[in-house]
Structure formats: C-alpha cells, structure tokens
C-alpha cells in the first residue's frame, strides 16, 4: 500500500484518549489506503469483464476504448434512406446527408452511430427485443420529422482518406431493411 510508512509515523496517543478511538481512526485510514489500489485493479476488471446485457458497456463502467483501432480499411454502420413520403430518392442516401429532411441529421450526433452498432450487435445475438427497442428510437427520434420513410441499416466499407477525398465507398452490406409508416 502506498504511503503506509507515513501511517507508522502517527502522533502518539495523548493521555486520556481512548485506545479504541485511535484504532478506529487507524482502521478508517487503512481502509482508505486500499482505495487507490482497489480502483486500479477492480475498475478495469469490471469494465472489461462485466456482462453488458446487449449494450456496448456495463454502465457506468466504461473500458475507454475510444478510437482504439484504426486501419486503412474501415467499416461503419449507417442508415441508408431510399424513400421519403413516397418519393424515391436518386439513390440510397446516408442519413446525415439529409439535413433538409431530418433535424437530427443536422446535429451530426455520434450517438446514432453508437446506437446502430448496438443494433447490429443485437441482430448478431438474435436479441429481437433490443433490436425492436432500438428500432423505435431510430424511427421515433432520429426519423421523427417524416411519417413515411423506407430505409436500410447497412454496413459500409471504405478507405477513410479516399472517402474523405471523393466520397468513395467500396462496398455496402445491408443488414436490415425497414419501413416507417405507410409508403
């Protein structure tokens, strides 16, 4: 335990002070001494190993795997919109490009990307309950500005710098085709 040596340098018990109280204080201090060590050991263990129940993390523990992995070949789960209010778009269009149709697209909220990751994980696990719940969030929160929308949840593959430069997407794999409202 760090700083244990300092504990031994404690002032002697003044006459009249209960030995018991001093012991309690010492015990209280020693309990706190364990705190930094316990944090460094147990927090990562819980963050890495605790069951996530279909989520990306065991809230409020988080493994801090932010931008942990990069490569020249990236994949991203996206919403591809095909049709809005019965009008077919020129081609499958990324949700974030439809700023005139959806207020949420103007916000560029990265939470949608995380939600879509959870959606694909739920599908892979066969967890239809989580999938249905996330589907409602997609349609009633992100797509709320339009009553009738036909869209896909898809994984796109690309080289990040090529996509940045000219928008090139090398491959698209549709994982779910959904419809909000009547088209």
């Amino acid at each position: 335990m760090p700083f244990a040596k300092s504990a031994s340098a404690m002032t002697p018990t003044p006459p009249g002070r209960s030995q018991n109280t001093v012991k309690q204080r010492l015990a209280s201090y020693q309990a706190r001494l364990v705190l930094p060590l316990a944090i460094v050991i147990f927090y990562p263990m819980i963050a890495f190993l605790a069951p996530t129940n279909g989520r990306a993390e065991f809230y409020p523990f988080f493994a801090w795997h932010l931008f942990a992995k990069t490569s020249s070949h990236k994949a991203d789960v996206v919403l591809l919109v095909h049709e809005i209010e019965g009008v077919r778009l020129d081609g499958p269009t990324l949700f974030f490009e439809l700023r005139d149709d959806f207020a949420a697209a103007r916000g560029q909220n990265i939470q949608l990307a995380k939600l879509l990751d959870d959606y694909v994980f739920a599908m892979a696990r066969g967890d239809s309950e989580t999938k249905a719940s996330l589907n409602e969030v997609i349609e009633n929160t992100y797509l709320r500005d339009r009553a009738n929308v036909r869209y896909d949840v898809a994984i796109i593959y690309y080289h990040p710098i090529e996509r940045y430069t000219d928008g090139t997407i090398t491959d698209i794999r549709t994982v779910a085709s959904n419809q909000k409202g009547m088209l």
Binding site: M1, P2, F3, A4, K5, S6, A7, M10, T11, V22, R25, L26, S28, Y29, R32, L35, P36, I39, V40, Y43, P44, R55, A56, E57, Y59, P60, F62, W64, H65, L66, F67, A68, K69, T70, S71, S72, K74, D76, F96, E97, Q108, I110, Q111, L112, A113, K114, L115, D118, S133, L134, E136, V137, I138, N140, T141, Y158, P160, I161, R163, Y164
Partner: protein
C-alpha cells in the same frame, strides 16, 4: 506482503521519505481542500448547463432507451423526471460547494448527478462526457467528514488518500485508452495488416471521423494529407496516455501530465472537433491544482521521473558519474 508492496512502489516510482507527498500534511491540506471546493464549484457550472440540455432533450426525444438507473422512470412522465433530476443535481452541487465537508451532501450530489447523466445517455448509444466527473464525485464521497482545519492526523491522511484516489481513477481512464491503442496496434503488426502504429494511422482516424460526422475540423486536412506531422504527435499521445496512472504516483509529473493531457484535448478539438470539456476541467482541478505537485523542479528532475525514459537514462547517468567517483578511470580518457 511487504516485499510485494515495495516492488509495487518501485514499479510506480512512489516517493517516500524526504520527497513523500504526506511529508508536509498540514501545509498541503488547504490545497487539498481547494481541489474539493473547485470540483463542486465547477459542478455548479456543469449542472446548470444540464438543466437547459435536459429541457431540450425532453422536448425532442419521443422514444427513450432508458438505462438501468432510470428504468423506474418508464412509467412516469420522462421529460418531467429528467428536468427535475437536473434541477436537483444543480441544487445539490450548489450545496456541496458550501457543505463539502458533509458526506450526506456529497452523496446527494453524486446520486442526483448520476441519474441526470444517465438521462443524457438514455436515447440510444452512450456518450462519455460525464463518466469521469461522476467517478471522481463518487470517490470524493469517501472523504472524512468535518472541517479540515480541525482534523486529526489520521483524518488528514485519509483526506489526502481520497484525493490521490480521485486522481488515480481519472488517470486510469487515460491509461486504459492508451493500452487499448497499443494492444490493437501490436495486434495489427502481428497480423501484418495496417493498424495503429502505421505511419498514416492518425490520418485515417481523422479522415474517418470527419466523414462520419460531416465536420471539418480546423487542422484536419493538414494532418490527413501530411502523416509525417501526425505520427510523432500520435506516438507522444500514446506515451502520455499509457503512463498517466504512473504519473499520479510521481508528484513531479502532475503538472507536466496535466498540461500534456490538456494539450491532447485541444488537439482532439482541432483535429476531430471532439472536446471533452469536463475532462479538461478535471485536469485543471486534479492535476494542475494537485496538492501533491512538487514546487519548482528542474527539467532534469522531470526527465528523470518520466516513466520508461527515466529508466532508459539511468545507465547513462551512472556511466557519466562513475569516472568522477573513481579517479583512476579519469586517466584512461
């Protein structure tokens, strides 16, 4: 147990004896209390912003994906619940500024803050701006009660240990983030595929983030097309992140690591338009204002303390000092 503790101390570079953080307990207690007061004072600012954020979140969100701490709210008027929670978090933060010496108040703050931050993350997908703030708040609940001026030595040492723990958990988050990058980088090298240690790794990350969010950060293009600028910066960030938790136990590094990580957050804004303002504030409160931070120290002393670098320099230092200690060798040169 003792040899194990000694080995742990040596590994972390914990300074005891003359340089020990607890050597001048009475002297550093006011600085430790300042950390706590500042934490709650800044909490007032964050929770005040939360009130407005919750108001708009409640209005725009139709479908909720409530996380477990807020599952009980499913049967209630959720927008109303989260507005009430944010107001409660604000009020308890204000109380905690004045009554930070009372555990009940600190506990009330962290409980209401936790519920309020859960609401932000109950719309599908979890963001992490408030996680560290919450965990530090939770650790501070363990502070001993009572006025610091009237505390006995045990309680003062307990107080400082809790502050150290708050620093440790916060820096642990950076270490975890760094270790993940190293792990995947090494994995890519083993697999023989492009990865985190590739020359263009940071350029790919920045370009990817930019196309994902449609943002155009100020320096993004410069780094995307000039990976030679990016690589040294990325490796430096990795070093600072991986050894962040070690720096907590080396008080001469507190200020250096504070500035380095604030620089990192400034960089993520300039390159990716991500700014963890809450983390920057925590770095100011916990590291730049660290009660354990050494006073003025020489650059040489800081370099000696640097994890890994200090270790690598040790043989050179010994070699340099040896001829002076053994006069016979001077004649050999």
């Amino acid at each position: 147990m003792t040899p194990l503790i000694r080995a742990g101390r040596r590994a972390l570079g914990v300074q005891l004896g003359a340089g020990a953080p607890f050597r001048r307990i009475t002297e550093i207690m006011p600085n430790a209390e300042r950390v706590v007061v500042f934490y709650y004072a800044v909490s007032v600012l964050l929770t005040a912003r939360m009130i407005a954020d919750m108001h708009w979140l409640g209005r725009k969100t139709v479908e909720w994906d409530l996380l477990w701490p807020l599952a009980w709210a499913a049967r209630l008027d959720i927008p109303l619940v989260i507005e009430v929670l944010s107001v409660m978090a604000f009020l308890t933060s204000v109380l905690a500024v004045q009554f930070h010496s009372r555990r009940a108040v600190r506990l009330a703050f962290v409980a209401t803050f936790f519920l309020a931050m859960t609401a932000v993350n109950s719309v599908g997908g979890i963001n992490h701006p408030y996680h560290a703030w919450f965990w530090v708040g939770l650790i501070l609940v363990a502070l001993p009660d009572g006025r610091t001026g009237a505390m006995n030595r045990h309680n003062r040492m307990s107080y400082l240990t809790v502050i150290l723990s708050a620093q440790a958990i916060f820096m642990l988050f950076y270490t975890m983030a760094g270790l993940y990058k190293v792990y995947f980088g090494v994995d890519a090298i083993i697999e023989g595929v492009p990865g985190n240690f590739s020359f263009s790794a940071l350029s790919w990350t920045i370009a990817d983030r930019s196309v994902q969010t449609g943002t155009t950060p100020l320096l993004a293009e410069l780094i995307i097309f000039n990976p030679a600028l990016a690589w040294p910066a990325f490796i430096s960030v990795l070093y600072v992140q991986v050894f962040a938790v070690v720096a907590v136990f080396r008080r001469r590094l507190h200020i250096v690591w504070g500035y380095a990580l604030i620089g990192f957050h400034l960089g993520t804004w300039l390159l990716m338009e991500i700014i963890f303002i809450q983390h920057v504030l925590l770095l100011v409160v916990l590291l730049l204002l660290s009660p354990f931070a050494a006073g003025p120290v020489s650059m040489r002393a800081v370099v000696r303390e640097l994890p890994l670098v200090g270790l690598l320099l040790r043989p050179l230092r010994s070699a340099a000092s040896r001829p002076l200690q053994t006069g016979g060798q001077l004649g050999d040169t």
